[in-house]
């Protein structure tokens, strides 16, 4: 992808943000899930991003001269959030324990919404980078045109 500069990093970022959006959607959907397939309460998941040096694109761009290095984002892992679960007094609930207390997931929907806004803005920004890079290349193609 060396024709349009910077597009590799942006593509990787779009991939990563897509994963994050998926995780946010899962969290919101399971905000009140008291029992999953193994019988445990759902625990909020979060993504960990990691920056990876983009070897192939560095080689192609000849960055050793200018010291420019391009890194891409990668989703390193999706880890459960270890904050304490919510406990609510609900004696009639099928999953209530002996004291009538139900443990609910530690998903805070407002927090998830804010994360979602961040992810969506990040996606927009990356798409904007790709569009701008492409129009730059188009302008460059016009050099010498009468």
């Amino acid at each position: 992808m060396s024709l349009i500069p910077g597009v590799d990093s942006s593509a990787a970022a779009l991939n990563a943000e897509r994963v994050r959006l998926n995780v946010i959607a899962t969290n919101i959907a399971n905000a009140n899930t008291t029992r999953d397939a193994e019988g445990r309460v759902y625990r909020r998941q979060q993504v960990v991003f990691e920056s990876v040096l983009d070897e192939a694109s560095n080689r192609m761009n000849g960055s050793s001269n200018t010291g420019e290095t391009s890194s891409s984002v990668k989703v390193k892992e999706v880890v459960p959030d270890h904050r304490p679960l919510r406990t609510v007094q609900m004696p009639g609930h099928p999953d209530a324990d002996a004291n009538g207390i139900v443990t609910l997931p530690n998903v805070n929907v407002s927090e998830e919404m804010v994360d979602m806004i961040t992810a969506s803005r990040s996606i927009e920004a990356n798409v904007q980078v790709i569009n701008t890079a492409k129009s730059m290349v188009q302008r460059a193609l016009e050099i010498g045109r009468r």
Binding site: S2, L3, I4, A11, L14, N15, R18, I130, L141
Partner: protein, 134 residues
């Protein structure tokens, strides 16, 4: 698709191999063309007889044409095939992401425009040459 990696990976240079179905490149003046190819192959340290299929590699795999423009046309062809393949993959749901598909389509269209501009430049310089008075 940039010119330098293509040129730097010439391993064999054969005779003029007309790309089937493609327009003949405008710079097809056998005298100068062969000498350019010879110079390139000498520089790369390997030369072979005419008519041998050469294996140039670029980002898209190996080429079968020995002419400069033939290789570029093949590159453009391959980037367009790649874009079409990704669209098919997206439709079939094999895990291709939409933004990757869009990016490869943009890449294909940009490399096509680059090829057109190169052709224009070459045509223009040929016309300049024709206009020269003896």
């Amino acid at each position: 698709m940039s010119i330098a990696p293509i040129a730097s990976q010439v391993t064999q240079v054969g005779g003029w191999n007309q790309l089937p179905g493609a327009q003949s490149p405008v710079t097809k003046t056998p005298g100068s063309g062969v000498s350019f190819e010879q110079a390139l192959s000498n520089q790369m340290g390997s030369a072979s007889g005419g008519g041998v299929q050469n294996t140039l590699t670029s980002a898209y795999g190996s080429h079968t044409s020995s002419s400069f423009f033939g290789r570029i046309v093949e590159d453009v062809q391959m980037s367009q095939l790649n874009a079409r393949k990704q669209v098919d993959g997206l439709m079939k749901g094999d895990g291709t992401q939409l933004h990757n598909v869009m990016i490869s389509m943009e890449e294909a269209s940009t490399s096509f425009q680059l090829m057109v501009e190169m052709r224009n430049k070459v045509v223009e310089s040929l016309q300049e040459l024709m206009r020269m008075q003896i």
